[in-house]
């Protein structure tokens, strides 16, 4: 395993086979929609000079995940880097950089699956960056732009990005019927609450170093002038939904677990294929397979519609403001 000094002992990089096909595809669609926005945003704002910057920084984040320090019992604290990337590059570019990192880890080093890549991008690049950005911006607003403000905000942002991403990861595992909710959510949450402390400490260490060496890099981040409302709102929303949903799911196993049971266990053998979303069978279509496929497509369309609508509202709001 010496080739994988950065391989986390914890299932943050979900391998193929752990998520059901429906969940994998759903998160691919979600991730692609959000990445599309990130691409459009970066296309508008960045110059040609940013491409080499993002490429080399992605390599640095990949390599930075090797940096660790030992805690007891063979565990070690190490860096995911979403928060640092967000603070230095801004949210949209950070999403692209983190996505590239996660994609290369999956394609070259088999750290995380190929079909589950969408879900992994969602957890580590999208949730990680959105939550980091929201927490950092809000916290900076209260603490003003003092040096202590940077340190505290950086710590909070790093910790919550890890913690919330792990909740998202365990919810995906639960919906797929891979792990029982009342076990995996508390376990993943607790472990990542600890790992988050490591991430937070390393991130603050890095921020202190950068602020004494190149203070200019931190100046534009999180300043009120160019706060991206969409990312801020998205980050807050993601954090709220996931922190509410996770304990709810684990204390009422009949909630999410129900989905998992329908999906995985109740249906044995052949039926499993037809019962991907059993109770959502479409009215008017008698063939259960067709009905299920229709239901699946409808689900994807609804998700897409909601995301698109949100973006439209968001864009309209921004448009008015700039006038």
């Amino acid at each position: 395993m010496s080739h994988f000094p950065f391989l986390s002992p914890l299932p943050m990089h979900i391998p193929d086979g752990f998520l059901s096909i429906l969940v994998s595809i759903l998160f691919w669609v979600l991730s692609i929609i959000i990445l599309g926005f990130a691409l459009r945003k970066t296309n508008q704002t960045i110059g040609e000079r940013q491409i080499p910057l993002m490429g080399v920084l992605a390599a640095a984040i990949f390599a930075g995940q090797m940096l660790n320090f030992s805690i007891t019992g063979g565990t070690s604290g190490h860096l995911l880097g979403a928060t640092l990337a967000t603070i230095i590059l801004g949210p949209w570019a950070a999403i692209l950089v983190m996505t590239s990192v996660v994609a290369v880890q999956a394609l070259v080093f088999q750290d995380g699956g190929i079909l589950t890549l969408g879900a992994n991008i969602f957890n580590m690049a999208i949730v990680g960056v959105f939550v980091s950005y929201a927490v950092y911006t809000i916290s900076m607003r209260y603490l003003r732009n003092s040096k202590w403000g940077t340190v505290v905000s950086g710590f909070l942002a790093a910790w919550s990005s890890i913690f919330i991403a792990s909740l998202s990861c365990s919810l995906q595992l639960t919906i797929s019927g891979t792990s029982p909710a009342n076990i995996v959510i508390p376990a993943m949450g607790a472990i990542h609450a600890l790992i988050g402390i490591g991430e937070g400490l390393i991130t603050t260490g890095a921020l202190v170093f950068i602020s004494s060496a190149r203070k200019d890099l931190l100046q534009n981040a999180g300043s009120a002038a160019e706060v991206s409302k969409g990312v801020l709102g998205g980050g807050v929303l993601l954090a709220l939904v996931l922190t509410v949903l996770a304990p709810l799911a684990s204390s009422h196993p009949d909630g999410l677990e129900w989905v998992a049971e329908q999906h995985g266990f109740l249906a044995n053998a052949r039926d499993a294929f037809y019962q991907i979303i059993p109770d959502y069978i479409f009215p008017g279509i008698s063939n259960p397979a067709l009905a299920t496929i229709a239901a699946g497509i409808m689900g994807v369309v609804i998700v897409f519609g909601v995301a698109w609508g949100l973006a439209r509202v968001n864009k309209a709001g921004r448009g008015q403001k700039s006038i």
């Binding site: 080739h3 979900i14 193929d16 752990f18 692209l96 590239s100 290369v104 190929i114 029982p180 053998a269």
Partner: protein
């Protein structure tokens, strides 16, 4: 730390990277859609991987060793065995202490184990027979947005340099602070360690920023004007289409067998 590419003069190495990428994706989807108890199909899938490993002259041992990476992550699915749905089988360990094992939960756990193991082997085969630059070219040809392929292209070019820098930093740290045997529960020591590591991460970031400045200057001087060299838009050759079709047909056939005979 290096790319996991096994150079061999096999026909599978020669196949267009697009074909391999799409085939692996289809294989993983079919494997994931199989019902849990489709043991026959699992065996067929495994033999497909085995024969591909042999045909590509990579050898199955390499693939197998690499595929063990998935083992630690299985921990996440382990609770299924004990907390899965009914019916439960009770095993009396000691007097009055019983161990409940869920039958469907155990089946599901086994299925997840086998499926994830099959999928990671397929991914290992892709990486072993295809150079990453070819995969990036395939991504360009498959119309992945230019920004992504550019970032990944440049990232790949500088990845191993940055990894060496990180290793230098780690070596420097261990040569200076040797092995400290202070109590691991010493909070101040732990925080100090974390801050040092943070400083290392910060300096790695700053170095990468400075390097990107130099890279940009070098690119400009060679005529860069906002876009890396685009990939040739070569359509897939007839032969490659046949290979792709054949591969998908085999994977689909195995899926059908699993669907009809499984359970």
């Amino acid at each position: 730390m290096h790319e996991f590419y096994v150079k061999r003069p096999s026909a599978i190495h020669q196949i267009d990277a697009r074909v391999k990428l799409i085939f692996i994706l289809v294989f993983i989807i079919f494997a994931g859609l199989l019902p849990d108890e489709a043991w026959a199909a699992y065996i067929l899938d495994l033999s497909l991987i085995l024969s591909l490993a042999l045909a590509s002259q990579v050898g199955y041992r390499v693939v197998f060793k690499r595929s063990l990476l998935v083992l630690p992550i299985l921990l996440a699915a382990l609770p299924l065995i004990f907390f899965g749905p009914k019916p439960h089988i009770s095993i009396e360990l000691v007097h009055d202490i019983e161990l409940n094992i869920s039958q469907p939960g155990s089946t599901r756990f086994l299925a997840i184990t086998v499926k994830s193991w099959l999928c990671i082997q397929a991914a290992v085969l892709l990486a072993a027979t295809t150079q990453f630059t070819d995969i990036v070219t395939a991504m360009k040809q498959l119309r992945v947005p230019v920004i992504f392929t550019s970032i990944i292209d440049l990232m790949w070019r500088y990845l191993f340099i940055m990894i060496e820098e990180a290793q230098c930093l780690l070596r420097a740290r261990s040569s200076r602070s040797a092995h400290d045997h202070r109590s691991p529960f010493n909070l101040r020591f732990l925080i100090w360690q974390a801050r040092m590591t943070g400083g290392m991460a910060g300096s790695l970031f700053l170095r990468s920023l400075e390097r990107s400045d130099r890279v940009y200057a070098a690119m400009l001087s060679r005529g860069y004007c906002g876009e890396l060299l685009p990939a040739e838009r070569l359509p897939l050759s007839k032969e490659n289409w046949k290979i792709l079709g054949g591969g998908i047909w085999v994977a689909g056939l195995i899926f059908l067998i699993g669907l009809l005979a499984g359970g």
